[in-house]
């Protein structure tokens, strides 16, 4: 036994209609680690999670979770994991407490042990006041918190979180991050977290795997990945809007353009931090007054860009635009 909490070897998943969703994933997550799986919509994150949580058999390859094979030892895997998947997966007609009662019962808990565990988790995620309200009336943040609490009922050693903060407001997101951080730090739970948010991966993950079109294109700690890129970018806002084109021409001498605000010019500095002084001198020489100048350290988006040629945030917007279309009309039926 390798001792890893999660390991996958050449994991592949094909669907009958459509491209290969997961294309040979190799990964290894150590016990107690928070592993961030970062990629845009459609990259294969959720499919990978479904395979690792035994909800979808792989087409080929193998994976072991908590020391058990995901294909041949499904029940043992499920006993060791908790999962909060992409949808909050709640019944709008049941109350929070009723969900907890159902979940504890399905995990074989009985009597006071089940009740106490349920109350403990409801309190921990801050839903004590709302526990007797139907979930249909909960906010998105409340649903996510209940979802997390339900995933923790049976004290799993490994927790899968599939885009846990998508669609949440800043406060709810921060609150969820704090809870995930506590789980990992205080209780040694291994967390496998998928996300499309750079900041989330940066803040939470010990290590990050960047996935694109079904394959891992980069893996490492956030710092190490960013250090690989090495080069910072500079963003400048001219004091006079008319100077924007001239500013673009000047900065273009120092490196390639990177996406930024429409009122600013941003380039990645070929020569690193040390070039900043030259940038200032060049702008001064052209008599371009600068309202704002900022140096940005590399981000995980820069890592994604360097590995795939595309920006992660740009990919996310494109995927979202593809999904927006006029709803399919459906006809109701007369009595």
């Amino acid at each position: 036994m390798s001792g890893a909490a999660i390991e996958a070897s050449d994991l592949v998943r094909d669907f009958k209609k459509g491209p290969r969703a997961v294309d040979g994933i190799d990964l290894r997550v150590e016990p107690g680690e928070v592993y961030g799986f970062l990629g845009p919509n459609g990259a294969g994150k959720s499919t990978t999670v479904h395979m690792l949580t035994t909800l979808l058999p792989p087409t080929s390859g193998s994976a072991r979770v908590a020391g058990h094979d995901v294909v041949t030892e499904g029940p043992a895997v499920r006993a060791a994991i908790g999962a909060a998947l992409q949808e909050a997966a709640l019944d709008p007609f049941l109350t929070g407490r009723e969900h907890m009662t159902l979940q504890t019962a399905l995990h074989g808990m009985r009597g006071t042990a089940a009740r106490d565990r349920g109350e403990e988790l409801i309190a921990r995620v801050g839903l004590s006041q709302a526990a007797d309200r139907r979930v249909g009336g909960y906010s998105g943040g409340m649903k996510r918190r209940l979802d997390l609490a339900l995933a923790l009922v049976h004290r799993p050693r490994i927790l899968f979180l599939d885009e846990p903060t998508t669609g949440l407001d800043v406060q709810s997101r921060t609150s969820l991050w704090e809870e995930v951080g506590r789980l990992a730090a205080d209780r040694g739970v291994t967390v496998f977290l998928t996300t499309q948010y750079l900041e989330e991966a940066d803040v939470l993950a010990d290590r990050v795997g960047i996935i694109h079109k079904g394959a891992i294109v980069a893996e490492g700690t956030p710092e190490a990945l960013k250090a690989e890129i090495g080069r910072p970018s500079v963003e400048a806002v001219p004091a006079e809007r008319e100077d924007l084109p001239r500013m673009k021409q000047v900065l273009a001498r120092f490196g390639e353009s990177v996406p930024g605000s429409p009122k600013a010019v941003a380039v990645r500095l070929d020569g690193g931090d040390a070039q900043l002084a030259e940038v200032v001198r060049a702008l001064d020489a052209e008599d371009i007054h600068v309202e704002h100048l900022q140096l940005h350290a590399p981000t995980l988006d820069d890592v994604f860009l360097s590995k795939t040629g595309r920006s992660l945030e740009g990919e996310a917007e494109e995927e979202t635009a593809d999904e927006e279309e006029e709803p399919e009309p459906t006809e109701a039926v007369a009595a």
Binding site: E326, P327, E328, P329, T330, E331, A332, V333, A334, A335
Partner: protein, 258 residues
């Protein structure tokens, strides 16, 4: 604003609605199936009713049922267009229409044209099937013009009623609010037997139900023995006039939140 503006808006809305209807099996199949199988079930399953003492409709039971199914198809063709209006509001598409259309009355006219196209399609289909099943039309061309004109007016009234509801509630959950009154108006009428053979509270309800006049007049046209023509047209036109006002009120309500 020119008349061209009004009708071009109406044409665009009608085209879109009709295109959605005819290209989407989930919409067109129920619209075809339901009237067909009401016709089949009643004409087939209840054909012996023409042997009930007092059944005095000479054109036969198939024709008797056809009269009702025609009215039903015209009515629900209009109501289902009301569903489409509600759907457009729920999806936000109506906002686009309201912003783009110089003459917003053209939007309602467009929905009406679409309802008419749907009703013509459904009625043509039912008529074809009914003819194969032995529908006997004893009325002449004038009678048939009268019959189908009544159907067009009923279709318009139903569509305007549904549109008025849809524009006020602006959600698909308005469906029952449209369907239930239409259902009650249709079924509290001499559906399976002539008025004189109805009993109990249904006869009482049918006696005050304006649809009874329209239905009996339609059956009269089919039998070549026009009856209650003027009252039936008067009722249908009054219903249409009232529902025009109702739909206009709905449009004003929708404009306040557009």
């Amino acid at each position: 604003m020119s008349r061209g503006g009004f009708w071009s808006v109406a044409g665009a809305v009608a085209w879109r609605n009709a295109h959605n209807f005819f290209s989407n099996p989930a919409m067109i199949v129920p619209a075809m199936l339901f009237p067909l199988f009401f016709f089949t079930a009643f004409a087939g399953g209840l054909s012996r009713v023409d042997s009930v003492p007092g059944f005095d409709y000479d054109a036969g039971y198939t024709t008797f049922v056809y009269g009702f199914v025609l009215l039903q198809a015209a009515t629900f063709g209009g109501i289902f267009t009301g569903f489409s209006v509600a759907r457009d509001f729920e999806s936000g598409f109506s906002r686009r229409l309201m912003l783009a259309a110089p003459r917003r009355g053209g939007i309602v006219a467009g929905y009406w044209l679409a309802a008419l196209m749907r009703a013509i399609f459904t009625i043509a289909l039912i008529t074809a099937v009914a003819l194969v099943a032995g529908l006997a039309i004893d009325g002449n061309a004038v009678d048939l013009v009268g019959l189908y004109t009544l159907a067009v007016i009923v279709n318009a009234a139903a569509m305007l009623f549904g549109t008025g509801i849809a524009m006020r509630l602006r959600t698909m959950q308005a469906g029952p609010a449209m369907q239930t009154p239409a259902f009650l108006f249709l079924f509290l009428a001499p559906v399976w037997v002539p008025y004189d053979l109805l009993t109990g509270w249904v006869q009482g309800a049918a006696s005050v139900n304006p649809v009874t006049l329209v239905l009996e007049s339609g059956r009269g046209f089919l039998a070549g023995d026009p009856t209650e023509v003027l009252p039936a047209f008067a009722v249908a036109l009054v219903l249409a006039a009232v529902t025009v006002l109702w739909a206009r009120g709905g449009l004003r309500s929708a404009e306040r939140v557009a």
